[in-house]
Amino acid sequence: MPNIWSIGGGKGGSGKSFITGNLGILLAKGGYKTLLVDLDLGAANLHTIIGLPLPEKSISDFLNKKVGTLQETVEPTPVPNLYLISGAMNNLDIANLAHEQKLKIIRNIPKLPYDYILLDLGAGTSFNTIDFFMISALGIFVTTPEPTSIENIYRLIRSVYFRKIRQVLSSHNFRTLAEEAQERDARATVSNPDILLYIMKELDPEKGEILENELRTFNFKLALNQLRKQDNPNIGALICKIIQRHLALKMHFLGNISFDERVHNAVCKKMPFLDLYPYTQTTLDLRTCHKNLLTIDEAEPILQNAVD
């Protein structure tokens, strides 16, 4: 099974593709066979970030049955060990995916033979985005220190979280229990998951535990992008704290990534930022995030035991 990371961010322009591309390059350089999947269907441009000329194959070849398997749409990139499934050159109506096609993608991505698979998701909280995000329980959220971006992060996290709760509730026939909980405390709805969980656990400890364990599989990270000098560097850690405290979710802070004017240059030159500006604070920050991503991931079970 590959390690799959979904990278989402709610707001457009917060740097999801930038971070996906550069983390992918760092993983590949670290010796992992890494695949990037551009799932921002309809507005895909991950290939530009990693310095790949317009790719010939794309994910719609698989959906249109031009090729038999998803693996055949994989393109090699100039970086050794790094591969890409592009979303460019898709049909113009690809953004409005039929349910059947969506399921086809969701089912096939985990079967691909790579060490790491990074999913670059589009902005917004449409069902497509959320369902793609939930291909993996491991998610990286990208935000900038602006109210608009932070607001959208919360929306996305809540959407993913609530969808998961609903899924668990319906697949385990918990509906009656949830209604019972709401009768006891009017606030115990899906939008107050911590209260809902608490009361459900009181009513039926066994079922409450099932729901809790299902929600615990989520393992979220947060990267704070485009931090300018005048910004409060603690914002990222505080966002994680709020989410941990009020949604009872695992949320770790990967780090701040400094704002750099030259990201624009790198995109215009169609070259990876890491290679064009290797000795900048922003590159250093990306490396720190990459390191934290690997170490926090591995340290998780140990920490879990220590707490229990």
Binding site: P145, P147, Y154, D194, I195, L197, L238, I242, A248
Partner: protein
């Protein structure tokens, strides 16, 4: 984790039950900044009602804990409910100052010889041989050596304590006149030697100097 609204005041402010008033004030300032209306982090996370509820909860927690009397009452309730450990309570005890230097060691050095000196004085006055020697008009190095062996004190100990070179002390005990220092120094060394053995300084110095004078 317990939902926010079910947490006790300490959990709400994220402090330990033995937190000092200063820590409580700091903790309240910290959470207030996180949940207030202007906070960029939380303003879009909560609705207006939720935020008001949280802020009033935090204020209630702060006011209950910052006043010592109401805090004691609250603690008592938590202890009764079994939610808090009696030993974990805050007590307004001043911490003991921690000494930077170990003064006790110095005291120990001062007091230890005292006991030794009293003991020694007694032994000198009880010992007939020593008293006999001290009664002589003239004292030789051999006499001093005899006194010392009676008291069973090694020469090294005297040298170590008086800082007189051991060779010099040996020369005195062996009546090795050639190696004697000038008379001024010799008197000083004899005094130190006598003081360490708790015998009369003037008797030793006078008797010894007289003996040297005769030897010449």
């Amino acid at each position: 984790m317990k939902p926010f609204r079910e947490q006790n005041y300490y959990e709400l402010l994220e402090i330990l039950p033995d937190a000092s008033p200063l820590e409580i004030r700091r903790a309240y300032k910290r959470v207030f900044e996180l949940y207030q209306d202007e906070s960029i982090v939380s303003y879009s996370f909560f609705s207006k009602e939720e935020r008001e509820e949280i802020l009033s909860l935090l204020e209630k927690a702060y006011l209950a804990l910052i006043d010592l009397e109401s805090r004691v009452q609250y603690d008592r309730r938590l202890i009764e409910l079994g939610l808090m450990d009696r030993d974990g309570q805050y007590s307004n005890k001043m911490k003991e100052p921690i000494p930077i230097y170990d003064f006790k060691k110095v005291h120990f050095d001062v007091f230890e010889p005292d006991r030794r000196l009293d003991d020694l004085k007694e032994r000198v006055s009880q010992n007939a041989i020593i008293q006999g020697i001290l009664a002589q008009d003239i004292l030789t190095g051999a006499d001093l050596h005899k006194i010392r062996t009676e008291l069973d004190i090694p020469l090294e100990e005297i040298a170590d304590s008086t800082k007189v070179q051991i060779g010099m002390l040996r020369a005195i005990e062996e009546d090795n006149l050639e190696n004697f220092p000038p008379a001024v120094y010799l008197k000083g060394f004899l005094k130190s030697y006598a003081r360490y053995l708790q015998i009369d300084e003037s008797v030793v110095v006078n008797g010894f100097i007289k003996r040297i004078g005769e030897g010449k």
